[in-house]
């Protein structure tokens, strides 16, 4: 059974149609990527899953439970950790406090366990440990992204949603991040990834969906999409 | 769209309702009652005084009615809430004036509201008898405007000469006063006479209505080192007294002009007011049976103890009745006003006799707090009271 299924999802912002009925599913242990150009509806799709957007039509199921109209914090507590676009770390909270926020809402929260989770994050991101008491806003872009992912991992999610993790990051750091993504998957966490850097995303993904103006135009394995000329054309206009 | 229709209907209905409710009151309905209007701030910052007016005038009316009314007619009061706002007050004055049954109006509490009513009552030739308006200009504005509170131009000099000068032997006086029409005219009246009497004004400080923190004002006056502090206010005297004493300034003598011999003041200040001196046209002397009776009934009805203000309002209604009794011929609005100007009456708060302008010169006595009670102070030459 799929971990997450999205059926016929339609989202309107007033008179603007952002999503026109999309279907996809994420199976346990997979890395799934949604790619597409700006304004295609990728972020809207993710925001719908985590409950931040009012849906016009459609159904979203997670762990067999209908989460279509559930409140965002309850969805998060079910085990979906959404690392939003632009990172959105808490700038006035220290690195340590930022991570702590990730555990506060964890229903499995207990002191010992959260400390272990924090240690795991710090082993994953040694850079963060060095900046333990620094305000989140003072970190560099890459560090902020690490913090955002780390904060998401503190929730011990079943599904980690990453929205544009490479946004505005230098190429070597982007590589770092993607390396991390594969490592996180090895820990047994399913990942749903939205990326503009299509090549990078497809190269790590098991399956991918191409979104175009609110519709899914293509889907397939990461490899097959990576070599698909249609995808390249959509991106480079060749 | 639907909302627009509904709102339109709503407004029309309201207009209609407003017209009809007032329409009925303009019909005179026989002669068995005589109606007076009462304008008082039942809500807003002066509401406690307005409530006092309401209770005191109703008490007077009940008493008079129980005794058979006036000229064979029962008294009816229409009490209206002016919120102490001149706009409201003048609208209500219009409403009362329209009502042909209303023969005279008692009110309003503040001078500003009363003064806004003057043009209306002047045009309608109906008496406006304010128990408390003390703005020196108010009563002179119209032949139909009267005030019974007593003129600041009488009480101020009395205070300076007899209380500060002769009784307290004060040399250096600091004055704390409220920046209102009443406060300012009192301040002027007192200080003008102080110059004549050779009493030095070493410090003055004022504040606006609603002030609660007097520490800075007190500190300022204290710095001038007066031997006596005079507080000119009606509402906030207790707080000023309290804050003077709690600031550790215990060796200064305190006097106040305004609240009269108010029990509430003692309740609010407890031992801090010990020795406080005031001028008052009257106070609730335990020997004064009618006054004590008034106090008892008033406290029962109002839920709080009376100051001098409700007493004056109480007197005001009796005064009106007294005037009506003397009228020969039909009782009309004009006849009442005309008669009132020459009526003399001694109420709870002392004798009332109108000056040509339409206000009253009162006689004052000195009250002092001793052992938590107001007592009549002695030891001055009262025979030369102006």
């Amino acid at each position: 059974m799929s971990l997450l299924t999205v059926e016929n999802l339609v989202v309107d912002y007033g008179h603007i149609h952002a999503l026109l009925g999309i279907n996809f599913h994420v199976d346990e242990g997979e890395i799934i990527t949604l790619i597409g150009s700006n304004g295609a509806g990728k972020t809207t799709a993710l925001m719908s899953i985590s409950g931040m957007v009012k849906k016009t039509e459609g159904k979203i199921t997670f762990l067999g439970q209908d989460i279509t109209v559930m409140k965002p914090h309850n969805i998060a507590r079910m085990g979906i950790s959404h690392v939003p676009e632009g990172r959105k770390i808490f700038p006035e909270l220290t690195v340590d406090e930022n991570l702590k926020v990730g555990t506060i809402a964890n229903p499995r929260y207990e002191k010992q366990r959260s400390l272990e989770a924090r240690d795991r994050v710090y082993t994953l991101f040694p850079r963060l440990k060095e900046r333990l008491n620094q305000g989140g806003g003072t970190l560099s872009g890459g560090e902020q992204q690490m913090l955002a992912i780390g904060r998401g991992l503190m929730m011990e999610p079943k599904l980690l949603i990453l929205d544009e993790p490479s946004l505005g990051l230098a190429p070597n750091i982007v590589e770092n991040i993607f390396e991390l993504i594969t490592r996180i998957r090895k820990d047994g966490i399913t990942i749903l990834l939205v990326e503009q850097n299509a090549s990078m995303a497809l190269s790590v993904a098991d399956r991918g969906y191409v979104l175009e103006t609110g519709k899914i135009s293509l889907e397939g394995s990461g490899e097959s999409l990576l070599v698909n000329e249609e995808v390249r054309r959509a991106y480079l206009g060749a | 769209m639907k909302v627009r229709v509904i709102s339109l209907v709503l407004v029309l209905a309201m207009l209609l309702a407003a017209c009809t409710t007032t329409g009925t009151t303009t019909q005179p309905t026989g002669n068995e009652t005589i109606t007076f209007g009462v304008l008082a701030p039942l809500t807003g910052t002066n509401a406690e005084y307005g409530k006092g007016f309401q209770v005191a005038t109703q008490m007077a009316a009940d008493e008079i009615n129980a005794a058979g009314g006036v000229a064979g007619r029962q008294i009816k009061l229409i009490v209206m809430d002016s919120k102490g706002d001149p706009k409201e007050s003048s609208d209500l004055a219009r409403q009362l004036v329209e009502n042909q049954e209303v023969m005279a109006i008692i009110g309003d509490f503040t001078s500003s509201a009363s003064m806004a009513d003057v043009p209306i009552i002047d045009e309608a030739k109906i008496t406006l008898l304010s128990p408390t308006a003390s703005n020196p200009d108010y009563a002179g504005m119209s032949d139909y405007a009267f005030s019974v509170m007593g003129r600041q131009s009488d009480e101020g000099p009395f205070f300076s000469t007899y209380i500060l000068g002769k009784y307290m032997q004060a040399k250096k006086v600091g004055i704390i006063y409220i920046n209102s029409d009443w406060g300012l005219s009192s301040f002027k009246a007192v200080t003008d006479q102080m110059k004549v009497d050779g009493i030095e004004l070493v410090a003055e400080a004022n504040y606006v209505a609603g002030e609660t923190d007097f520490t800075s004002v007190i500190t300022k006056v204290k710095a001038a080192n007066p031997d006596t502090v005079l507080i000119l206010d009606q509402g906030a005297v207790a707080q000023v007294v309290n804050q003077i004493r709690t600031s550790g300034w215990t060796d200064v003598r305190l006097a106040t002009l305004g609240p009269g011999a108010s029990q509430q003041l003692i309740d609010l200040t407890k031992e801090n007011s010990e020795g406080l001196i005031t001028s008052t046209p009257f106070f609730f002397n335990e020997d004064d049976a009618p006054a004590m009776a008034f106090k008892k009934t008033f406290t029962e009805k109002a839920g709080f103890e009376p100051t001098v203000h409700p007493v004056v309002a109480y007197d005001a209604l009796y005064l009106l009745v007294e005037a009506i009794k003397k009228i020969e011929g039909p009782i009309t609005r004009e006849a009442i006003a005309k008669q009132l100007a020459t009526t003399e009456y001694t109420g709870l708060a002392g004798p009332i006799k109108f000056q040509p302008a339409g206000d009253v010169s009162r006689k004052y006595v000195i009250g002092q707090v001793k052992d938590g009670k107001w007592v009549l102070a002695a030891g001055y030459d009262y025979s030369t009271t102006p």
Binding site: S203, R233, G237 | -
Partner: protein
Amino acid sequence: MSQLLVANNVSKHFGGLKAVDNVDMIINEGDIFGIIGPNGAGKTTFFNICSGVYKPTTGEITFDGHSLVGQKPEQIARLGMARTFQNIRLFKYMSVLENVFIGFQTKTRTGLADAILHTAAYKSDEQLIREEGLKVLDSLGLLPFKDTKAGNLSYGMQRKVEIARALALGPKLLLLDEPAAGMNQLEKQELMHFVIDLNKRGYTIALIEHDMRFVMNSCNRILVLNFGQKICEGTPEEVREDKGVNEAYFGKGLLVGRKGAAA
């Protein structure tokens, strides 16, 4: 061909972040000038500097011979630069025609007294606005929607109205921020032809766009930004061949086994 907009060494820093870093740019009269780059590359920030929303941290911009340093957006608009926004900023509760009316702000002179007394100045202004406004709408094929509330139109239509509103200024330079975002292929095609057509009618145009097909087929010069820096500038052909652009834009594969596929 004269230089219309010249940016010299322009930088914009937000705290520690260098959103735009030492960018030079020259837009010539008659250009369709494209600015591309991945998300977060600083394109919109750069646009906002040009139109006066942000003050540059360093550098200077001249437009049509006027320095833009310290100029407010409305002053720059009055110099003849009009723009649209990435996330459409129409007056969405106003009708299409009213939206366009606002665009005539710089061309009219009605003062308070004129408005109250309905003087000749007022009447001629109103007439001008009405005639010209309808003309603009007509030229964009928006005439049938003139009384529709702008917010009720489809995405593509709203983009057009925003452009119409900008055209009302009679601009020397038209800045379009992601005009094709959210449109389907057909609408994009249509928009592209429309932009080319505008250009033929004499408007100089600068645009930010993600859709490469759109940019490659419409622009005559392209500036590529990444991390706030200029990584390439040239004709579409030059840009397409540029390896840095390819990587910056499409990204390069990470896993060794798949590298060949990404080439």
